[in-house]
């Protein structure tokens, strides 16, 4: 199966944070700094992808066995939740070992990756009746959409609200880029959680505008 023709559109305009306003809590909480948004995006993307892959493999294995009838919808989604939670726990452990500062910074929102994955529907994709490739591609699309949305919000909030862009620290560079005119007197109100919701509102409006223009105004206005 080839990549979907609407992949770009689905990444940019149909992801669930801006369009359906789902997964708001971690999206607003971790978008204060770009680096936190990067870690969260990495977590959601990897967990969503692995959950979709594992879910699809288990479904295929289950269908071949005698227990195919046992694959009721509720059971599949419970399995998806358990799978996402396990993978999220693995990600947390890895993050704590590799980047303890990032782990502390994400705090309570790191376990919410499992919830995000369910919200994105990636874990459930593997549980639905679709091929492994389709499940993985769906998860990748949703993960990329989530990451793009989160990074854009974080970039706007941190650059305008704090006058900095925080990235990974490397040798000789502390990871913080100060924006000359904004670093001295940033608009601190844009760093508040309300500004995150405001950014989401504008993203949602932009996404709807893109979709509206794509589908044609007459079609949108028709009852």
């Amino acid at each position: 199966m080839a990549l979907d023709a609407g992949l770009g559109k689905r990444i940019a305009g149909e992801h669930r944070i801006s369009m359906l306003l789902l997964g708001l809590c971690p999206a607003v909480a971790v978008s204060v700094r770009v680096i936190d948004a990067l870690w969260m995006s990495a977590g959601v993307f990897s967990v969503a992808l692995l959950a979709a892959l594992c879910g699809a493999l288990v479904r295929r294995w289950g269908r071949s066995g005698e227990g195919a009838a046992a694959g009721a919808t509720v059971g599949k989604w419970m399995g998806a939740l358990a799978l996402s939670s396990c993978l999220t726990a693995c990600f947390e452990v890895v993050l704590l070992a590799v980047a303890p500062e990032a782990s502390a910074s994400l705090g309570i929102y790191a376990p919410l990756i499992a919830v995000n994955c369910l919200v994105l529907g990636s874990a459930g994709t593997g549980a639905r009746d679709s091929s492994i490739t389709r499940a993985v591609l769906d998860a990748a699309e949703q993960g990329l959409g989530f990451s793009a949305c989160l990074l854009l919000i974080a970039l706007l909030r941190e650059s305008l609200g704090a006058g900095t862009i925080t990235l990974f620290a490397v040798d000789g560079f502390n990871g913080v880029i100060a924006i000359p005119s904004l670093a001295r007197d940033p608009a601190r109100a844009l760093g508040a959680s309300g500004a995150g919701l405001l950014c989401l509102g504008y993203l949602g409006a932009s996404a709807r505008l893109l979709r509206w223009r794509g589908e044609g105004r007459e079609k949108e206005l028709s009852p």
Partner: protein, 370 residues
């Protein structure tokens, strides 16, 4: 070509059956009249604070107009001549201290027009007052710059750069200052009013009030006429009331909102205002609090904005009471300035609920009867 001209004619001429009522009132006319009624207070602010105040007003109005033009280009509807952008810029400028860096009023005006007004559909569709939201945005973003009061060139003598309300809050933070009225607390804290105020108060006390056994506190005259530091447009209560009287006379402002707002604030401040300062019940010094800060400006010119205030008369009363209570709590127990900006923005958020609730209540008997 003919179809186009027919379409233009039908847009220009709205044909409806009789009876017709012809009025000269329009949104643009109201906006310009409100702006005109604010000019005396603005002129007083410029006279007291000088060129920096004029620059702040020019920048805030300019930024507001530029933002309106940009949004007009984006949304393809020209609205610059309806006066609302000018009024928003003027209000933002009047609610700024004269010493504020010029990027602050520019950003506040741009936020007011682009985010609060145009993002929600433009004039008549905004759900909170754009100017007040812009000022609140500036207060939350640049609290230090918004406390840069600037120097005032007094007419009756020197003017202390710190506004009386801010000085009172600082004085009341000291635990030993209890049991006195606001102006007495200020005098005790060493706050200096003008020499002209001292002369006038001494004359009034000796000639007029001494036979009655009463006396005015030093500073009463300065606070009353606005010969004090503060935000550019908020200081002169008489000139603001003059403009408000004009608006009430022209029925541009509905009287229910400012009256209920000021009355509820006065009552709450009088009853409970003295408790925090250790003066007990019914000793809050409400007149000082009404004359200080942007309460009068907010009550007559911002809270009574027809777009963001309730539609029904009952709703306007409730809205005013809500504003008075919020401002009282914010001013006496809050940390965000004089509490007017936050109160108006919060109360604006409840207006759609009030309208819906009262609409259902008023329609219920009609439904039952039918």
């Amino acid at each position: 070509m003919a179809e186009k001209s027919d379409q233009r004619a039908s847009e220009a001429l709205l044909v409806t059956p009789a009876p017709h009522v012809g009025i000269r009132s329009s949104s643009a006319r109201k906006s310009w009249l409100v702006a005109a009624s604010l000019l005396p207070a603005a002129a007083w602010g410029v006279m007291l604070f000088g060129v920096p105040a004029l620059l702040v007003l020019i920048v805030s109005i300019g930024a507001s107009l530029v933002s309106e033009v940009l949004s007009s280009l984006l949304f393809r509807r020209f609205t610059l001549n309806d006066g609302s952008a000018f009024l928003t810029g003027l209000l933002v400028g009047l609610l700024m201290p004269s010493g504020v860096p010029l990027y602050v009023p520019a950003a506040a005006s741009a936020f007011a027009i682009l985010v609060v007004k145009q993002s929600f559909g433009g004039l008549g569709r905004n759900w909170m007052n754009p100017a007040m939201a812009g000022v609140l945005f500036a207060m939350l973003s640049w609290s230090g710059a918004m406390s840069n009061w600037g120097a005032a060139q007094g007419i009756l003598g020197n003017v202390t750069s710190l506004p009386p309300l801010e000085a009172l809050r600082a004085a009341l933070a000291a635990p030993e200052v209890t049991g006195r009225a606001p102006l007495a607390v200020l005098a005790g804290a060493g706050y200096r009013f003008s020499n002209g105020d001292a002369s006038i108060i001494a004359w009034i006390n000796s000639r007029l009030l001494a036979p009655l056994g009463a006396a005015l506190q030093p500073g009463s005259f300065d606070v009353l006429v606005g010969h004090v530091s503060g935000r550019i447009g908020e200081i002169s209560a008489p000139l603001l009331l003059l403009g408000a009287g004009f608006l009430l006379h022209r029925r541009i402002v509905r009287w229910q909102v400012p009256v209920s707002y000021l009355a509820s604030f006065l009552m709450l401040a009088w009853i409970f205002g003295g408790l925090g300062a250790g003066r007990g019940w019914l000793a809050g010094g409400p007149v000082f609090h009404v004359l200080s800060g942007s309460l009068i400006l907010g009550a007559f010119f911002i809270a009574s904005d027809p777009v963001t205030s309730p539609l029904s008369e009952k709703g306007r009363w409730i809205y005013g009471l809500e504003l008075g209570a919020l401002t009282f709590f914010m001013r006496y127990f809050g940390t965000l300035g004089d509490g007017v900006a936050v109160s108006i923005v919060l109360a604006n958020c409840t207006v759609p609920l009030l309208d819906r609730w009262l609409q259902h209540r008023e329609a219920a008997p009609l439904r039952e009867a039918s």
